[in-house]
Structure formats: C-alpha cells, structure tokens
C-alpha cells in the first residue's frame, strides 16, 4: 500500500504576467483518496491541467513521475493512455447521445469503422453496474439527472482502464443524497485498490473520505495533512492563511414589519401541463429579515423563485404577491425589477452573466436607466458605478474592464450580486448564492447579505447547504415537492429538524 503512484516535483507554471504555480509538490500513494483543497484561483485546476497534459510538457517546469516513470505528456491522450483520467467540474457529455454512445465516444468497439452496438451495450451495462447506476444503456444523457450524469462520467473513466481517477468538484451540483452516494462509490473503489484525487470545496466531504489532504494557496503547496490531522478547522486555517473563527459574520437582526408576502402561489410545468410544480405556497418576509428556503435538489425552490420573478418559469401561474400590503404585478421581468424585486440566479454562467463582456457592462445591465438619460448612457457615471460596486463587493480584478468570463467563481458571483444591488431592490431572492465558491468568498457574500439586511431589505436565501442556512438566516421555510412543509425560527432549527420536516412531508404525500 505504501508505494507512491504519483509524484509531482517542483511544478512551476507561469502565464504571461502571472505565476500560477510555484514549486508545487504533490505525492500520492497507491490506493489512497487524496484530497486537494484551496480557494478558487489557488491553482488546483492548473495543477490538474499540468498533470493531465492539457498544458503539454515543456510549457511548465518540474517533473511528473507516475508509477516510477517520468512522464512528458503532449496532450490528454498521453495521460489517459497510461491511466490518468480526469473528470471535470463541467461534465463533458453529449446530451443528445445515449449513455453507451457517450461512454465509448471516440473509443468505440468497432471493426473497420462499423460499430458493434451489442458489444458496446453489454460493456456499458457492466460498467453501469459497477458504478451502481440502474439505467438502460440506450437512455439519452439529457433524460437523466446531473447526479446520474456524474456516474456516467465515472463509468466512462472506468472504461479507459483508469489507474488514477481525478475528480474536480464532483459534487458541486449534486444533491445531498447523490453526493453521499458518490462518496460511497469512491470509498468502494478504494477498497478495490483504485487511487483517486478529489478536488473539493466541501470540507465535510473531504473530512469523510480523504486519507490525505494537500492544501494549496496562491500557487504553492502549504502542507499535506495525514488522516489523523484532518479537521475542518485545521484545513480552513491552512487554506486562507488565517483562522476563520466564525464562518458566518455576526449580525444583530433588526426585524420590522412584513413587507413581502406571497399567497397561494401555484405553478404548472411549462411542458407537462398537468403537472403542478408549485402547490399553494404561502410565505412572507419582514423588513431586515433573512429568510431561508431549505429543501433537497428538485424540491421546486428555484422554480418557485423564477415563477415569481417575471414568470420566468412555468405556466398557469396563480396566486398573489404583495409588497407593503399592496398587490404587485410581476408579470414580466422588467415589471419585477421596476417593483424592486431582484433574483440572483443559481447558475451564474448560464443565467447571470454575459461572459464575453466586461465587469462594467454586466454590473449596470439590470438598471441601465440608472446610468443613462433619454437612452443615452453616461460613460462616466457608469464607470463610477462599476468602480463603486467593485469596491463594495470586493471584486478582485485588474480593472472593471476585465471580462467576467475570466474571473473566478467567487468574483463572478460578486459581479452578479453587484448587478442586482445596483438595481436597488427591496426584496432580494438569492438562489444558491455560494455554490462552487471558496470559503473566503463565501464569507464575503455572507457579509454582503448581512449588510443588506441591516439596511432594511427583505432577503430570501435558497440553499442546499443546511449549515449555511442555519448560519445566516433568521427564519427557515422547508420546501419539498413544491410545497412548504415546515417553517421554523433559525434559532431553534437544526439539520435534523429540517430533514425531519422533509421526510414528514414525503410521508404525507404517500398516505
């Protein structure tokens, strides 16, 4: 067990003007689960790109030794050939092809270019069994959920005779249940002798499965912790270089009267017209209050928020919304914005940002009238607004002319937040505001939320991370299957209580 399978020595990689990695060392033993943690932009992904040959040999300094041999990869093909397979955060599956077609894409069992589908499908079925996925190999990828797609990616890796499996944020978009299943699978692979590298922001997961943790900060290896020293606090201290005594900023809620209220909100599915997605939801938020909506993935929380925000989701929407006791017309996004409702999406890349444009233009997009008169934009005003929000939300960028596509996840999220803050909302709906961002940026986002609440805004936070909800909200609604199944003050809520509400809700439906 003690033999070293991979050793990366003194890896240094520079981009024009930036040293992304400097003298990074990583040593992975055969048969272990080795976690790599670090803030966004610390250099984890760069290191993995060096390892997998995305940055070919010669573009970096240092040595890679895999199973006793020095490797000089020219591309991904070389590294895959000797058994290093990386599964990226953004899945690389073709949605309109079947599971079999995806697993053997570019690697089909064929003779003279003619594919033997029976052989491929039989092998797929065997691989799916290995990863515990009970689906027909003919199923199209688009018809299965993200959790299952992740498993297909792993099956695809297995099909390549993988010796070292690298998972980059594998649970970032998975529900609690799917994440657990995935981690169990990793442990199962470990029992069978496979080595894996796990890159994750979720320290509880690292805590659960990792044999060793290597912490990377600012392109340098800080330390490698053995199993017995792994604890969340220890890792956080090492990651941020300072101790985060409290992961949530302190705040003293000043809660006023109810300002935002939703009554009997019902929504039907946009395609399957008979399916009711949101069922008679009632909810209210007070001035200066942070209200959480807890629930599992697929509980209907995002659908609820988007149907509220300019009817951006669903059909046959019924119910009433009021602000300060007056009924609100939210029939289009622009009306919602005019009525000072804002929705910060859970998927900032697809729904939040124009990635090919810079920070300045993204920040003002939801409130162009705030920087223009008679349709003519005042460049100076826009510039000072953008700089102002860059400072307020601490966006780390060389200038407001940096493209948002080149920012790290945390900074992108701050740009989306800035956009909605500049629209000056009274009610702010934040959907998974800290998904896929590092501990330091999370703290900054929490601080912004606390500040907004102190300014007297009404805030709704949708989150799948229960500790986060418990840490930053005043009151929590629990949603399941499109229904509110529980409501509790954050002070006497707990993860168990929330889970119990969800399970009870499911029980109710069954009876």
């Amino acid at each position: 067990m003690a033999s070293t399978i991979l050793e990366m020595r003194d890896i240094t990689k520079t981009f024009p003007g930036v040293k992304a990695l400097s003298n990074v060392n990583l040593s992975v033993e055969e048969g272990e689960i080795h976690a790599i943690v670090g803030e966004n932009g610390a250099g984890k992904s760069t290191l993995m790109k060096v390892l997998s040959g995305v940055y070919p040999s010669g573009t970096y300094d240092g040595q890679i030794i895999f199973r006793g041999q020095e490797c000089n990869f020219k591309g991904i093909h070389d590294s895959e050939h000797i058994g290093i397979v990386i599964i990226h955060q953004e899945l690389a599956l073709v949605p309109m092809l079947s599971i079999t077609e995806n697993i053997f894409l570019g690697n089909e069992h064929a003779s003279y270019g003619v594919i033997d589908w029976d052989a491929n499908e039989a092998r797929t079925a065997a691989l799916l069994k290995k990863v515990g996925l009970n689906e027909d190999p003919k199923t199209l990828i688009t018809n299965i959920g993200v959790g299952k797609q992740q498993l297909v990616e792993i099956a695809k890796a297995l099909s390549k005779e993988v010796k070292l499996l690298i998972l980059d944020e594998p649970t970032a978009s998975l529900s609690e249940k799917d994440s657990q299943a995935l981690l169990d699978l990793l442990l199962e692979f470990k029992r069978q002798g496979m080595t894996s590298i796990l890159i994750s922001h979720k320290l509880n997961e690292v805590n659960r499965v990792a044999d060793k943790v290597t912490v990377i900060r600012d392109g340098r290896t800080i330390e490698t912790l053995p199993r017995k020293d792994i604890s969340e606090d220890r890792i956080i201290t090492s990651m941020v270089g300072r101790s985060l005594d409290d992961r949530y900023p302190p705040r003293e809620p000043q809660i006023g009267e109810v300002i935002f209220e939703v009554k009997d909100w019902s929504v039907y599915h946009p395609i399957h017209a008979e399916r009711q997605v949101i069922k008679n939801v009632n909810l209210n938020v007070r001035k200066g209050e942070v209200v959480g909506i807890a629930g599992l993935m697929g509980a209907g929380r995002t659908e609820f928020a988007m149907s509220l925000f300019g009817r951006s989701y669903g059909r046959h929407i019924t119910g009433e919304v009021s602000l300060h006791g007056k009924p609100l017309d939210l029939s289009s996004v622009s009306k919602a914005v005019e009525n000072r409702i804002a929705y910060v999406t859970e998927d900032r890349k697809t729904y939040g940002l124009n990635l090919i444009d810079h920070i300045k233009h993204n920040v003002t997009l939801a409130n162009l009238s705030g920087v223009s008169s008679r349709g003519v934009i005042d460049d100076m005003r826009e510039m000072s607004v953008a700089n102002d929000y860059r400072k307020k939300t601490n966006i780390r960028a060389s200038s407001v002319y940096q493209l948002t596509g080149n920012l790290s996840g945390g900074n992108q999220q701050k740009v989306v937040l800035s956009k909605w803050l500049f629209a000056d909302p009274e009610v702010l709906i934040l959907d998974e505001p800290t998904r896929g961002i590092d501990v330091g940026a999370k703290y900054e986002i929490y601080t912004i939320i606390a500040r907004l609440a102190a300014e007297g805004k009404a805030i709704i936070v949708i989150s799948s991370e229960m500790p986060e909800l418990l840490g930053i909200t005043d009151r929590i609604y629990v949603m399941n299957e499109g229904r509110i199944v529980g409501e509790m003050a954050a002070s006497d809520a707990s993860q168990e209580k929330i889970m119990r509400a969800i399970v009870r809700g499911e029980g109710k439906k069954a009876s």
């Binding site: 951006s312 622009s334 233009h361 162009l368 009238s369 100076m380 102002d388 629209a423």
Partner: protein
C-alpha cells in the same frame, strides 16, 4: 500614475497602484484589432495604388469606389446589429432587389400621379422595407424560428417577387434624374469653386479636361468642420475622463491617433474636392455610420443588443425584452436593405431582376472581416464599415488591374478566411 480618487479597499491597494499603466496597455490591446483593421485597409490601398500605377487614389476613382460600395456598407450597418444580436439575415440582397423593382414600378410604370415623385416613392419603399423586416423578425422573435431558415425563405420569396414584378427578365427604366442623384449625384457647391491652378487652354481656345486644379469649396469646408469636430470631441471626452480620475489612453497615442485620422480624412476630402465634390451617397453613409456608432456605443438599446447576443437568457433575466429587441433589429435591417435597394437602382438608373443578387454574402463577409463573432455579442460598427471598404477596394483594385472576376472571388474568399483565422488565433492567445 494611478489617479483613482475614491479610497481603495485594503486588499486591493497593491493592484490599484498598478492600474494606471495597466489600463493604458489594455486600451491599446483592446483597440489593437480596430487599429489593425484600419492599418490593413491602408496597406491594401497602398498596394493597389502601386499595382494600378496610381489610379486607385485618383479623385474620379475614389468617387466610383464610394458609389459602387455604399450599398454594401449601408446594409452592413444593419447586418452588424443582426449578427451581434446572435442572428443572421440572408434575405437582404433579395429585399434590396425587390425594393428597387418596386421603386421603379412606382416611378415609371404605375400611374400614381404625384405619388410617383421620387421622394414619396423612397419614403414608401423604406416603410415597405420596415414591414418586411417586421414580418421576418416576428417569426424569429416570437416563435423562435431560426433566423437562418426564416431569412433563407425570405431570400427566395423576395427574389421571386422582384422578378415577377419586373415581368420576367426585363428591366424597368430609365429612372428620373432626381432619383439617380441619390447614388451618382454630388452635393451642390453653395460656396462656389476656388481655382488654384487655372486649367490649361489649348490652341483652339478650349480647356483641357482634367488639367488645372479647382476645389469644391463646400466639400473642403464640410471636411474641415468634420475633422475639427472629431478632434474636439475626442479631446473633450478625454478631458472628461481625466476630470473623473480615469486614465483613458496615453496622451502621445491619443495625439498620434487624432493626427493620423485627421490627415487621412483631409487627404480624402481634398481628393473629392478636386473632382466634383462629396458624393451625396457618401454623405448619407457618413450620417448613418455616425448614427450607428452612437447607438451601439452610447445608447441603452445598443448595449442591450450586445447583452442579448452575449447571453440571451441572462439578458432576459435582467429585465430586457429580448423578443421586442429582436423584432426591432430586424425592422432596422429591413429599412437599411430597402435603402440599399434604392441606392442600387439609383446607380444603375433602372431596376433589373438581378439587382443585389448575392450581395447578402458580401454584406455578411464585411461584418465578419470587421471582427464580429458568429456566436453573437461581439462586433463594432467601424469594423464592419472598414471590412466593407476592404472588400470594395479589393474589387475595385483588382478590376483596374484586370484580374479575372473568377479569381477576384477566390481572393475575397481567402481574405475573409484569413481575417477570421487571425481573430480566432488572437483570441486564443489572449
């Protein structure tokens, strides 16, 4: 060097100190493509100036060049917005042909009385163009039919109507002179000509055409006003930025840019003035180009089009009515296609069934040479205009050189491919 006025956050202090020079560098690199394109145009012009032994820059040829290519550039302005918005329009050549036929029928064949007046006809034609744009845009915006398909259908439909209207293969003309002035006219010299060198008089007492130097003073005055305005507004914007504490670009770079731009403009103005003055169509084009630069750079509607092309879903969730915006982009395209059609008819002096045939491809090529992205969200008006001129100068130069039309197409194709490869390569390097 940093002139940031507001206090910087603690963590970003080190970054902000370096911000001044960094902005200067980024101003240069972000504009590199625009400068590069203009430099490419100048190099191409000098090349043809050399290979055509000086014919290219002759005043009469410059006038021809503008008159031959103006309709491409006018339509490229609309096409830029269409492509930036994330769509394509294949119907513009056919719409231009149809509008030309409609205009000719109204002015020459149909008994419309005072409604056959060229001005009335032109206005009616522009309105018809808007309706065509609206009809196509409606399906694209509100029913999400791919623009490629809708406008491919439009291309067939309007070419067919154009030919049917003209009754098969025949052409309709001649068109009234006052209408033809749109393309082949020159602005009147309200100030009066200035003779610098009197023309040579031959033995028979007649002046030799082309000898001497008489300047069209109205053109000179308009040119001077334009150049002064360009320098003044450039300087004012710069001052304003500095007053607000933002570094624009290094002062020497600004001076060089302004001087080179002004010198080029004055040279062209002088060439036009020594012939018959500014072509009317150049004036129309200049006004439209300024308008579209302003709309895309300074107006909220322009900003919204870029945002929609960059990420339509994000734009929609930011409160932008993407459907209406799409419709407007196609209405605009329809109006400019109609104007293009009028310009073609005015230049030919008649409506022919093949008018504008294939020009949609030249228009699209101009926009892509100008640096627009086929994915939407990226592209500049000036880029499209320069792209149009690059195509035009190549057409013109190669024709003078006597290059076969077939080979002209090959060269144009290579230039289009080269420009886009250059773009993609640059983007990957960045």
């Amino acid at each position: 060097m940093s002139t940031e006025s507001a206090p910087a956050p603690q963590s970003g202090t080190a970054e902000d100190v370096k911000q001044g020079p960094r902005i200067a560098v980024s101003a240069l690199t972000t504009n590199l493509r625009e400068y590069g394109l203009i430099i490419a145009l100048i190099v191409i012009m000098l090349f043809f100036q050399y290979t055509t032994s000086g014919t290219l820059f002759k005043p009469v040829n410059l006038s021809n060049l503008v008159q031959q290519n103006s309709f491409i550039i006018v339509m490229a302005l609309g096409m830029l917005l269409v492509i930036v918005a994330g769509y394509i329009d294949l119907s513009v050549g056919s719409v231009a042909g149809f509008i030309g036929a409609l205009a000719a029928m109204m002015m020459v064949i149909w008994p419309l009385g005072i409604f056959s007046n060229p001005l009335v006809v032109s206005i009616v034609c522009l309105i018809v163009g808007a309706l065509i744009g609206a009809a196509q845009g409606y399906w694209i915006a509100y029913h999400k039919i791919p623009s490629f398909i809708v406008t491919l259908a439009g291309m067939l439909i309007f070419r067919g109507i154009c030919q049917a209207l003209l009754g098969g293969g025949s052409s309709v003309g001649p068109l009234p002179d006052s209408f033809k002035a749109l393309s082949s006219g020159f602005i009147p010299d309200v100030i009066g000509p200035l003779t610098l060198i009197p023309p040579t008089v031959n033995a028979a007492g007649k002046t030799i055409v082309g000898s001497g130097l008489t300047l069209h003073m109205t053109t000179i005055v308009l040119g001077l006003i334009a150049v002064l305005a360009y320098a003044y507004f450039g300087f004012r914007t710069r001052r304003k930025r500095e007053r607000h504490g933002y570094e624009a670009e290094p002062f020497p770079l600004f001076v060089i840019k302004t001087l080179v731009g002004s010198a080029l403009a004055l040279f062209l103005v002088f060439q036009f003035a020594s012939y018959r003055g500014l072509p009317v169509v150049l004036l129309v084009m200049g006004v439209l180009i300024s308008l579209f630069v302003f709309v895309t750079k300074r107006m909220t509607i322009g900003r919204r089009i870029y945002a929609m092309g960059g990420n339509a879903k994000a734009a929609q969730l930011s409160g932008i009515n993407t459907e209406r915006l799409t419709l407007l982009v196609f209405i605009n395209m329809g109006v400019l296609s109609a104007l293009g059609g009028l310009i073609i008819a005015a230049r030919l002096g008649q409506a022919v069934p093949a008018a504008g045939l294939g020009s949609e491809l030249d228009v699209i090529a101009a926009v892509f040479i100008g640096g627009a992205s086929a994915m939407g969200g990226v592209g500049q008006v000036i880029g499209a205009v320069v792209g149009g001129f690059i195509m035009g100068v190549m057409n013109n130069g190669m024709s003078i050189m006597g290059v076969n039309v077939d080979w002209q197409q090959v060269v144009k194709g290579l230039v289009l491919l080269g420009a886009v490869i250059f773009d993609v390569y640059n983007k990957n390097k960045a």
